[in-house]
């Protein structure tokens, strides 16, 4: 086996340690498999990594915090350094959080890193998901990874909320009180769920230790497992890439893992770590010492959850009271349940969207080249509509602060949010779709007529014209290499009849994709060049509104 000898010689040259490892792990196979794997380089492809790195920071800083935090609700009288709470009865959970903040060196810094990293984790995860959606990166073969991503955001929300509730301060306690109300409103079993979760009546003495187990064991374990599968799929599928010269559905163009991508990714990790450290060094987050211990009677103005739970709180604020009604004396608290319903609906639709889109278009092909958002106006419009809907619910949770800040009436704010909750997504959809179509027209103009140069030339017969610089073939390819979604008419089934479902599909496809702009074809470009040349002689009108197919 001469190749084996050469390989082992090469490895031996690297060092006996490597050989030792190789003999026990067979690592060379992995290096060969992954070492030259290609990752395309674009800033928008790095957002998921930010979530990953934030998660690593969370695990590291969280482990540090567990060494001092006491997840117990036994009462102690505070006598620590924070004088504004001297002599006050507080729980051990709250006391140990105060200890971490005021008595452990570096404790407050790491506590703030943990909380800021949590906010960044959810924010990065969210814009990563938006990037995936708007570029169509969820399409075959990546549907399952998209679903995993949505589940990650759901579990991340749970992990965040359980953490927010641990210090047992006034803010988190009132948050739990809202959760208690939310649970109690569930028909039939709500009261039981509440009693089981809290170990009896709210607030009880068990909730902090129970949430702690979830927060440091089950939820992070699920997150780690899902992140692992998520990354594994990225390797299996290879990364998507933007349309561009040299890029095709059959290849992936970019940097190899070793050394370029590994170095950039490693450096990026330290940079994200540095950003979180910087924010945590000088910006206060969750100053629990100000909130005081949890007590069911007081509450602070501006009681809000962390941002990623805000939309749930916003729904609770926006819904009117008449949505609670009674059937045979049993309450249906739709004004409260709807928060859970909307959240599940939102996540649910997001999860099945890849299949809905593929079904509507009858498209069962793999897609590795991304859509520029403008080139799929319908999807982009729907995505912006969903984002606006989410944003209205989210903003709803801060209505009181917005009202004070802009000197508006709190009540008017809520009326505005109620209206926007209904009409906001529709306006967003139609507006976004129009904007996308306009941008596509602009692209067509650019391809057909070239860059404006700012040079004015005078034609022989006296007319002034601006000279246009034709695009390079590379530029033309980047702007024209896309497919316009095709509206597939209703197809007969095996029995030769068109089923009702198929009719619905065809109608939806027609509604969503009928308005569309075609990319410029070579024939059109040639014709335009011809006309241009002709124009410069005959000075004819060269406005072009072709391409909008009705």
């Amino acid at each position: 086996m001469s190749t084996a000898q050469t390989t082992s010689k090469t490895v031996a040259a690297v060092g006996s340690v490597a050989q030792w490892t190789e003999d026990r792990t067979g690592a060379s196979k992995a290096v060969r498999e992954f070492g030259r794997k290609i990752f395309p380089s674009h800033w928008s492809f790095m957002l998921g990594e930010v979530a990953l790195y934030s998660f690593i920071i969370l695990v590291l800083s969280g482990t540090f915090l567990t060494f001092w935090f006491k997840p117990a609700m036994a009462e102690v009288v505070y006598q620590g350094p924070w004088t504004a709470l001297h002599g006050v009865t507080i729980s051990e959970a709250y006391a140990s959080t105060l200890e971490i903040s005021f008595e452990i060196r570096g404790g407050l810094f790491i506590r703030q890193m943990h909380h800021w990293a949590a906010l960044l984790f959810m924010a990065a995860l969210t814009i990563h998901a938006l990037r995936i959606f708007f570029t169509g990166a969820f399409r075959k073969p990546r549907e399952l990874n998209w679903v995993i991503g949505i589940v990650l955001s759901m579990v991340g929300l749970g992990a965040g909320f359980t953490g927010y509730s641990l210090p047992d301060d006034l803010l988190s306690g009132n948050g739990l009180r809202i959760i208690d109300g939310l649970l109690k409103s569930i028909p039939l079993v709500g009261t039981y769920i509440s009693f089981f979760l809290f170990g009896g009546e709210f607030p009880g003495i068990h909730i902090v230790s129970r949430l702690y187990s979830l927060h440091i064991m089950i939820l992070p374990a699920v997150l780690i497992a899902l992140i692992g599968v998520h990354l594994m799929f990225v390797v299996i599928h290879k990364h998507t890439q933007w349309p561009g010269a040299g890029h095709s559905e059959k290849n992936v163009v970019g940097e190899p893992v070793l050394p370029t991508f590994a170095a950039k990714g490693g450096g990026f990790f330290f940079l994200i770590f540095a950003l979180v450290a910087f924010i945590s060094a000088i910006f206060t987050i969750n100053p629990i010492w100000n909130y005081g211990p949890y007590d069911p009677s007081p509450v602070s103005a501006g009681t809000q959850p962390d941002w990623y739970v805000g939309w749930a709180d916003g729904i609770l604020r926006i819904m009117p009271g008449w949505m609670e009604f009674y059937i045979f004396g049993y309450p249906i608290s739709l004004n409260i349940n709807i928060a859970i319903i909307i959240m599940l609906l939102f996540w649910g639709i997001a999860m099945v969207w890849p299949w809905i889109e593929a079904w509507m278009l009858g498209d069962n092909r793999e897609h590795h080249i991304l859509d520029r958002p403008r080139n799929n106006p319908t999807r982009t419009g729907l995505g912006v509509a969903a984002a606006v809907w989410y944003a209205v619910m989210w903003a709803g949770a801060s209505g009181d602060l917005v009202a004070v800040f802009f000197h508006m009436s709190l009540n008017d704010m809520i009326y505005i949010f109620r209206v926007l909750f209904i009409v906001g997504p529709f306006i967003a959809f139609f507006l976004t779709r129009r904007i996308c179509l306009s941008l596509q027209r602009k692209d067509r103009e650019l391809v057909l007529h070239g860059h404006e140069t700012g040079q004015i030339i005078r034609l022989p017969h006296g007319e002034f014209q601006e000279r246009h610089q034709p695009l390079t073939p590379h530029e033309v390819w980047a702007l024209t290499a896309f497919e316009t979604p095709q509206v597939l008419p209703a197809q007969p089934g095996k029995d030769g009849k068109v089923s009702g479902l198929e009719r619905v599909r065809a109608r939806m496809a027609k509604y969503f994709y009928e308005d569309r702009i075609h990319p410029v074809t070579k024939a059109e470009l040639d014709a335009a060049h011809e006309a241009h040349h002709h124009d410069e002689v005959a000075a004819g009108d060269h406005d072009d509104h072709k391409g909008l197919e009705k």
Partner: protein
């Protein structure tokens, strides 16, 4: 009592007497208890007279010629000197325009004039007096006790550290960090606008002083964690991570993926 006797010949005396009488007999519920309630004892007759003139020219349009109140303004009989001092020296009164609630602005009168008007209003009926220095001395107060009282009685409107908050229909509870000790005390005592009144049976002068001490302490102590982001809680933190944190992230990713020259 001597002062009262001296003013018996005053043209307003009869009206005042009548109203005071009505108030005393009719209103078990308008009883003010506690040590800081005072009548016009500390103001001279001249002050009261000057105050009345100022009142008639500046306040009577809304509060009535005899401070009996009108459609546009409440009766000031029995509100006490503390209410006048609070409302006028914070610039809330005279009202600039009708709105959900009176706004803080530059005080329109000198301290002396304010004292004269306070004296006049105090002469109309017993009400809370301007607080003694003793109750404003935060060196004497207990911030921890004040914190407990503040969370129970104040935080729901003014936020746990006094950053303020929204009330119904455009009204709001103001930020307390810049409010003087005296005005904090007077506000608790007199319940300006929609703020409830915290009489001395509810919060004793010592307890009020504890609350003031707490407010001072939390607004003057730098936050252990760094910049406070307005002490507005998770909303400010969320906005910060979206607009500063993510902007930083996107900046880093763009630098990272840009080709070197």
């Amino acid at each position: 009592m001597k002062l009262l006797a001296a003013r018996r010949r005053h043209p307003m005396a009869l009206v005042v007497l009548l109203l005071v009488g009505l108030l005393l007999t009719g209103g078990a519920y308008s009883l003010f208890t506690g040590s800081t309630t005072a009548s016009a004892d500390e103001y001279s007759a001249a002050d009261v007279e000057a105050g009345q003139k100022l009142f008639v020219t500046n306040c009577a349009t809304c509060h009535g010629l005899n401070a009996e109140g009108s459609e546009n303004g409440p009766s000031l009989i029995g509100v006490g000197a503390a209410a006048v001092d609070f409302q006028v020296s914070t610039g809330r009164m005279p009202l600039q325009m009708h709105g959900p609630q009176a706004q803080v602005k530059q005080a329109q009168f000198s301290e002396e004039e304010i004292a004269q008007m306070a004296g006049y209003v105090a002469s109309l009926g017993p009400g809370p007096a301007v607080p003694d220095e003793e109750w404003l001395d935060t060196a004497e107060g207990d911030a921890a006790a004040g914190g407990g009282l503040f969370r129970t009685n104040c935080a729901m409107c003014h936020n746990v550290v006094g950053s303020g908050g929204a009330l119904t229909r455009g009204k709001y509870a103001p930020n307390l960090t810049e409010v003087s000790e005296k005005h904090l005390y007077e506000a608790m005592q007199t319940g300006p606008q929609n703020m409830p009144i915290f009489n001395d049976a509810n919060l004793s002068p010592e307890e009020k002083r504890d609350i003031i001490t707490y407010v001072r302490e939390v607004s003057e102590t730098p936050s252990a964690g760094g910049f406070k982001l307005g002490s507005l809680g998770p909303v400010a933190e969320g906005l910060f991570i979206w607009f500063f944190g993510l902007a930083g992230v996107v900046g880093i990713t763009m630098w990272l993926t840009a080709r070197s020259k």
